[in-house]
């Protein structure tokens, strides 16, 4: 951890010093400083993806630089501007939000530069406008791939979640890259013919899109908060152990990642785990429930009915409704109609309940292993085991 942090600081200072030194030595300090200043500003006004991740405007600066700044000053500007931008973002958004920005942006910028240089060497006669615009498509894609890879490799979340899930989630956040590359290209394409009006031309559609992404990210965060709050309602009402829904959701996401579920399906599993016990409020008074707390199947049915009232959550309701089902019945290899997601929720809830009864993690896992004949899918229990190993659970 400490060595990674040190590496980042060394990378930052080495990059900044190289960029500044080279640009001064070549007498091209002005364009390099302009690129660096644009990068710092882009780190202070980042786009937010729907998942809430910060994306600085560096791809836009790179795309614009392809049209308006010679290659070497642009590279010097990046060497200076990316570390400076990271420091600025760190000061504004904190270490947690900006921790992986420097490796991600550096890797992305390097891949972008390599692709542009390679294509320029391959097609030296490329037309100034259409040719360079076409060049930005693979270059922007390379930035996204390299940046996603570097950020996935850097993040602390690797100790909690499968790398595959983190990588797929990062790859799914491509829309900001498209917007940024096209915004930079728009500026670059019109800079010569429109002068400073090109800034307004690029800024106006970008502002519209920035507003859209910002609202989307804010609403997505609020929606998550709401689902988490609703998941805690049975707990605050005394109908379930405190923190059970949060712990189950955390485990279910990790198990889903180990099983290779898509990010969208993993999100549904997370919501299902959060809301699986909401049906416990029904026995509080419904004539449907009568007296008593209700069996696991009844609670799941009531939970699914409640969750299914929201059209957007119907796929989640389906997972909740199927979660108490055993993975196979006597005489069959496995229940073909039972999705893995439902088993993930069941296994996560059973493990947390076992811990809640005072069992040690290894004993709780053993209890699930004993249930693999019918109740718990051995593949899902195996994924749970891998999660616990990844998290350094004692005795496993």
């Amino acid at each position: 951890m400490r060595s990674r942090s040190l590496l980042r600081w060394v990378l930052a200072f080495a990059g900044a010093a190289t960029g500044l030194g080279l640009s001064l030595a070549r007498g091209e300090a002005l364009p390099a400083l302009a690129v660096a200043a644009a990068l710092v500003a882009g780190h202070l006004l980042p786009l937010r993806s729907a998942g809430g991740r910060l994306q600085p405007l560096s791809p836009a600066v790179a795309a614009a630089a392809v049209f308006v700044v010679p290659a070497l000053p642009a590279l010097c500007g990046f060497a200076l501007g990316l570390p400076a931008g990271w420091l600025a973002a760190r000061a504004r958004f904190g270490e947690e939000a900006s921790g992986d920005l420097l490796p991600g942006e550096s890797a992305g910028a390097a891949a972008f530069a390599a692709v542009v240089a390679g294509l320029a060497a391959l097609f030296p006669e490329a037309d100034q406008s259409w040719g360079r615009l076409a060049m930005l498509v693979p270059a922007g894609g390379a930035w996204h791939l390299a940046s996603s890879g570097a950020r996935t490799g850097w993040t602390e979340m690797r100790s909690r979640l499968a790398t595959g899930l983190l990588w797929r989630s990062a790859l799914g956040e491509w829309p900001p890259y498209v917007v940024l590359v096209t915004t930079g290209a728009l500026y670059g394409l019109t800079r010569d013919s429109m002068g400073w009006w090109a800034v307004l031309l690029a800024a106006m559609p970008y502002a519209f899109t920035h507003l859209a992404f910002d609202r989307l990210a804010t609403t997505a965060a609020t929606y998550e908060q709401t689902i988490r709050a609703l998941g805690r309602v049975p707990e605050v009402g005394g109908f379930g152990p405190p923190g059970h829904s949060e712990r189950c959701a955390d485990l279910a996401v990790a198990i889903g990642g180990e099983l290779g579920l898509s990010p969208a399906e993993t999100r549904r599993v997370e919501h299902a785990a959060l809301l699986a016990d909401i049906g416990r409020v029904v026995p509080a008074g419904s004539s449907a429930a009568g007296d008593g707390a209700g069996s696991a199947r009844e609670v799941a049915e009531w939970s699914a009915a409640i969750v299914g009232e929201a059209p957007a959550l119907r796929p989640v309701a389906a997972i909740v409704g199927q979660s108490p089902r055993p993975y196979r019945r006597p005489g069959e290899e496995r229940d073909p109609g039972l999705p893995a997601s439902a088993q993930v929720v069941k296994v996560a809830a059973a493990y947390d309940s076992a811990l809640g009864r005072g069992l040690a993690p290894v004993d709780a896992l053993e209890e699930l292993h004993r249930g693999t004949a019918y109740d718990y899918d051995p593949e899902v229990v195996g994924a749970l085991r891998r999660v616990l190993v990844r998290r350094g659970c004692p005795g496993i």
Binding site: A50, S129, L133, P175, V178, V179, T182, T183, A185, L186, L189, T190, S193, M194, G195, W197, A198, L201, M204, P205, Y206, F208, T209, L211, A212, R215, L216, T219, A220, T222, Y223, Q225, T226, I227, A229, L230, R232, V233, P234, V236, G237, G238, F239, I278, V281, V282, P283, A284, G285, S286, S287, A288, I306, V307, G308, E309, A310, P311, A312, L313
Partner: protein, 433 residues
């Protein structure tokens, strides 16, 4: 006026509107030249039609269509001699949108054809008239952008007046805000018009290569706003879904939340509350009973009215859930209203929204049957609320009475005899239970 006569009048209005549009098109065909290059017109016309029916929800109150951006860009790109005809032609094509063709009421697309052609033509004509003569250069950019603002306002004003005219006749029950109160809408239109004109200049000065680039950025923004609107609706649906779960606990209160929201909105409109306050009131009405999710059964399904101690216990349980919901930033001001609703319901003081919510809740409580008593008549409910004007405020109670009677709605038991019958049924149910 009979339905048939009204239909005939509406058909005539729609035909008149369409005739005005067709007339404008015919006049432009004579006065202007054909827009060239044709491929550019076809691309922009496709974008115009798509955007005209893909309005985006920028926030809770602002819905904008970006078609005006394409229209103004086209005027600049095709110039004074062909720009107005180019735009009028695009507006005429907008009626061919599939979702529009599916509508059964033919008057609407026909009228919309005329409304779009007339308003777009007038806006485009103002812009074209203000453009400098001769080929446009970089030095003309400030003048072009400045010309886009009055042109956008003319387009917006004419469009609003024509839509309002037709809406009042086709959908008389719909409430329309006056043009002067739609300032965010006008600002958005002016900005889009400026952006469109700037894009038109970029096309003239930098060539067609700018078109896909602007298109990509704008489409991404549109998709972002569309996802935002979907998510916002999902959020509302989710909260509403859980509220229905509360109602499932007690068959006597089924639909209560929807009715309280309806009464609260009616009072809010009568009191001329701002859209922001109306939105908060709607959420408060939706959430006011959410706290019952965590309350014990003997309190939620009490067979009789709750005593002071039971009432305090129920409020205590509800506060736990409300505290949970208050952690959600966007719901915090709404939960404040719900908390004050508890105070007002107990005879204390509270802000206007809390008093409106209390009046709406009390009215539904009085006009609905409970497990321990039957519904009262609407007149009795009004009298009961008028007796509580000290806590609720006279203006709130009178706004409720005015809203309900003004709409000709009737709630509660229709007559005293029926009330007695319901009381008998309730007693019978109680015995069976």
């Amino acid at each position: 006026m009979s339905t048939r006569a009204r239909d005939r009048r509406n058909s005539l209005l729609a035909v008149a509107m369409a005739t005005a549009g067709a007339g404008a098109l015919a006049a432009l065909a004579v006065l202007q030249s054909v827009p060239r290059p044709l491929w550019l017109w076809a691309v922009l016309a496709g974008a115009y039609v798509a955007l005209e029916y893909a309005a985006v929800e920028v926030n809770e109150r602002l819905l904008i269509s970006s078609a005006v951006m394409v229209a103004f860009g086209a005027v600049v790109a095709f110039g004074r001699d062909a720009g107005v005809l180019a735009v009028a032609g695009m507006a005429a094509l907008a009626v061919l949108h599939p979702s529009y063709l599916r509508l059964r009421r033919w008057q609407l697309p026909v009228a919309n054809f005329g409304q779009l052609v007339v308003s777009t033509t007038l806006g485009a004509a103002v812009l074209a008239a203000l453009l400098p003569a001769g080929p446009l250069t970089r030095g003309d950019i400030p003048r072009v952008l400045a010309a886009a603002v009055p042109a956008a306002l003319v387009h917006d004003w004419v469009n609003f007046q024509l839509v309002a005219f037709m809406t009042r006749r086709l959908y008389p029950e719909r409430e329309l805000q006056p043009w002067s109160r739609l300032v965010p809408q006008h600002l958005a239109m002016a900005l889009l018009a400026v952006l469109g004109s700037l894009c038109g200049m970029a096309y003239l000065l930098a060539g067609p290569v700018v078109l896909p680039v602007v298109g990509f950025t704008f489409v991404a923004g549109h998709l972002g706003f569309a996802s935002y609107a979907r998510l916002r609706r999902a959020h509302l649906d989710t909260v509403a879904g859980f509220v229905k779960a509360v109602e499932a606990l007690d068959p006597y209160t089924r639909g209560h939340t929807d009715r309280v929201a309806h009464f609260a909105a009616a009072i809010g409109r009568e009191l001329k509350m701002s859209p922001e306050r109306m939105e908060r009131l709607r959420w408060a009405a939706l959430l006011h009973d959410a706290g019952k999710l965590a309350a014990p059964p003997e309190l939620v399904r009490s067979a009789g009215p709750l005593g002071p101690e039971q009432q305090a216990a129920l409020v205590g349980h509800m506060r736990v859930v409300e505290d949970l919901l208050a952690e959600i930033k966007v719901l915090a001001p709404v939960v404040e209203i719900v908390r004050e609703w508890h105070q007002v319901a107990a005879g204390g003081e509270g802000r206007l929204e809390a008093r409106v919510l209390t009046a709406a809740d009390a009215f539904d409580g009085l006009t609905g049957t409970r497990s321990y008593r039957a519904a009262v008549t609407q007149g009795q409910a009004f009298a009961e609320l008028r007796a509580r004007t000290g806590a609720l405020g006279r203006e709130v109670v009178e706004a409720l009475v005015s809203a309900i009677t003004g709409r000709g709605e009737v709630y509660g038991s229709p007559e005293a005899a029926a009330t007695a019958e319901v009381e008998r049924l309730v007693k019978e149910r109680a015995v069976r239970a």
